[in-house]
């Protein structure tokens, strides 16, 4: 049995009851309203159910808007019943007292009813001694919390004062006024007593959360070092005679540590810089060379940008395979109207006119690919002077952002 989030007018009590009992919601509402006449029994019942019934779990649908206009007929019926009761019974005192008790009940219900049970459970472990308090501080929506607390407090106070006023022997207005002042002073006293506790508990909660976050980070770091660094070091010890392999291992480990320590992770399928860095890393691992990667700016990846990255990767592979050097430079820049990628090595170099037409690496994968996607590629090379591949891809202004900060 629970209160639904949709199909409700005030808090969903009537709808919940109706669903549980299998009767039309209208009948429940009318019954509650009619019971209103009998010393406000309807209101009492409503408040009690409101405080006790849990709310239905939140689902993804947008809840139906509450239509306060739908309350009008029930209000009218309730007024009628009350008037009728006032006509039939002369005992006004008892009726008023019933109303006041109902107001108290509603106030208490408002304070208590809605603190999310799951959240209360999660918090109450920390503060088993003061679960009522935990229920209140666990509210995330502070404004609704304050509103509800103040509103509920006023309702309770008014109810108590009303009861006192009705039964007070002097029956004078000034006594009621004094009662109000005393009630206010009493509330103030409670506030003074509770405030330091509230403050201290907030501090404890905050400290504990920070500690937990730190602990988690430490555990993550330890796991990473264990999984990667220690294993790589073990591999290096076992392969210490194979210099190429040691270099490859050390390079890969250095890169992954650097990424982990300094770089926010971005998806290579979404960001230009991340895609280029991944391509460079693959070439580094495959061909055991160092790619000195510098990327200025960043942008969103799309099909054309991916083609540019692929062409850049091909240029890196060519340099790794044919230049005979240990280091290749990869520089990319995102400008307002153009993306450019430069791959340079200081290796053997070659005579571009001497490359056979059947070789697809340069013509198909680099020049042809860039042309198909509306870009251009230039290759500058001379035997003995190294090679530079320049890739340019014009882009529209909207798809480019100026700096790396757009990653976040």
């Amino acid at each position: 049995m629970y209160r639904p989030r949709d199909h409700r007018i005030v808090a969903g009590v009537a709808a919940g009851l109706a669903r549980h009992l299998g009767v039309p919601v209208l009948a429940v509402r009318i019954t509650l309203v009619v019971l209103l006449g009998f010393n406000a029994l309807g209101l009492l019942l409503y408040a009690a159910y409101w405080a006790v019934l849990p709310q239905e779990a939140r689902n993804q649908e947008v809840p139906a808007r509450r239509d306060l206009g739908a309350l009008m007929p029930f209000a009218a019926i309730g007024m009628g019943v009350i008037l009728l009761q006032a006509q039939l019974f002369e005992d006004q005192g008892a009726t008023t007292a019933g109303w006041m008790i109902a107001v108290i009940a509603v106030g208490a219900g408002v304070i208590w009813h809605q603190s999310d049970p799951s959240r209360r459970d999660a918090q109450s472990e920390n503060l088993a001694s003061t679960p009522w308090f935990t229920a209140m501080v666990s509210e995330t929506d502070r404004r609704s919390f304050v509103f509800r607390f103040i509103g509920g407090g006023i309702l309770v106070a008014v109810g108590i004062i009303g009861v006192v006023a009705v039964y007070s022997p002097t029956d004078s207005f000034s006594a009621v006024f004094n009662g109000v002042i005393f009630a206010f002073v009493g509330l103030l006293g409670v506030g003074v007593v509770v405030a330091p506790l509230v403050w201290r508990t907030f501090g404890q909660l905050r400290a504990e959360r920070e500690g937990r976050i730190r602990e988690q980070e430490r555990a993550e770091l330890a796991a990473m070092i264990h999984d990667q660094v220690l294993h790589t070091l073990a591999l290096i010890q076992r392969n210490s005679t194979d210099i190429k392999e040691v270099q490859r291992l050390a390079r890969g480990q250095e890169r992954s540590l650097r990424n982990w320590l300094y770089k926010p992770t971005a998806s290579p399928t979404e960001r230009f810089a991340a895609a280029l860095e991944q391509a460079a890393a693959e070439v580094e691992d495959t061909y055991a060379i160092t790619v000195e990667t510098v990327v200025v700016g960043d942008t969103q990846c799309d099909e054309r940008v991916a083609a540019l990255v692929a062409a850049g990767r091909e240029a890196l592979v060519n340099a790794a395979r044919h230049a005979g050097v240990q280091t290749v430079s990869l520089y990319a820049e995102v400008e307002e109207d153009e993306l450019s990628v430069f791959v340079r090595d200081r290796g053997a170099g070659f005579d571009l006119s001497g490359v056979a037409d059947t070789r697809h690496g340069v013509r198909g994968s680099i020049i042809g690919r860039m042309q198909r996607h509306g870009g251009r590629a230039e290759i500058r090379s001379a035997p003995g002077d190294g090679t530079e591949v320049r890739l340019m891809l014009p882009v529209s202004r909207e798809s480019v952002t100026a700096g790396k900060e757009s990653v976040r």
Binding site: R258, L261, E292, V294, V295, G297, F342, R346, A402, G403
Partner: protein, 222 residues
């Protein structure tokens, strides 16, 4: 920047090492000993400050991350009392905030610890001669930091912007060109390339705080 210095040196340079890893200091000392005189070492910030003041070396090779304050504290303290001592940052970190932070504090260059001994010797020589040492990566960071943002009001536009020529030089540096090749590519002399690079370094060190703090904030560095 990768050209080893080959001409006979008039005077061997005095170099001071600051690094909290003794192993690394020993390695650098062995590698550099061929080219320069390593006149002292320090492993902590306070030790470095007092020893550098006593020895007054030409160039200090400075680690960025140390337990008690880091290279930046050494740099700021020594520069106040001995402005003629030049600093070359030598760090395992190539994170933008470390690089830019040290350059802003007054280091004449920044190289990572994976640099080859020859290149390191050349970098020390260049710093001692008053030039700036720009790795491709540093050039990339600077280009990033000075990326044109037309909407940002600039206090001193003269100082706070790179000229087109400086930008071109930085781009070529980032693309892996040596100074000699840049000079050939842009039809200017090597001396002019060096001047441009030194100007960029000066701008980086002196450009207004607003712009660079914004840059740092964008990258969640502050």
């Amino acid at each position: 920047m990768s050209e080893p210095v080959t001409e006979p040196e008039a005077r061997r340079l005095n170099v001071f090492l600051v690094d909290d890893h003794a192993m690394f200091r020993a390695g650098v000392r062995a590698e550099l000993g061929v080219h320069v005189d390593v006149v002292g070492e320090a492993s902590t910030v306070s030790e470095a400050i007092s020893r550098i003041a006593a020895v007054q070396p030409d160039v200090v090779l400075l680690d960025v991350h140390m337990p008690d304050g880091g290279g930046r504290a050494v740099l700021e303290s020594v520069r106040r009392s001995h402005p003629q001592v030049k600093f070359l940052a030598l760090s395992v970190s190539d994170a933008a905030e470390d690089v830019i932070g040290l350059i802003r504090a007054g280091a004449r260059g920044y190289v990572t610890k994976t640099i080859s001994p020859d290149e390191l010797a050349a970098a020390v020589r260049r710093v001692a001669d008053g030039d700036a040492v720009f790795s491709p990566r540093l050039a990339g960071f600077v280009l990033d930091a000075f990326a044109s943002r037309p909407d940002v009001p600039v206090a001193d536009p003269e100082l706070d912007q790179l000229t087109n020529r400086e930008r071109e030089v930085l781009r070529l540096l980032a693309r892996g060109y040596a100074y000699k090749e840049i000079a050939k590519e842009l039809f200017i002399s090597i001396k002019t390339v060096e001047t441009h690079v030194s100007n960029v370094l000066r701008k980086l060190q002196m450009s207004n705080r607003y712009e660079l703090s914004r840059w740092a904030a964008d990258r969640r560095l502050v």
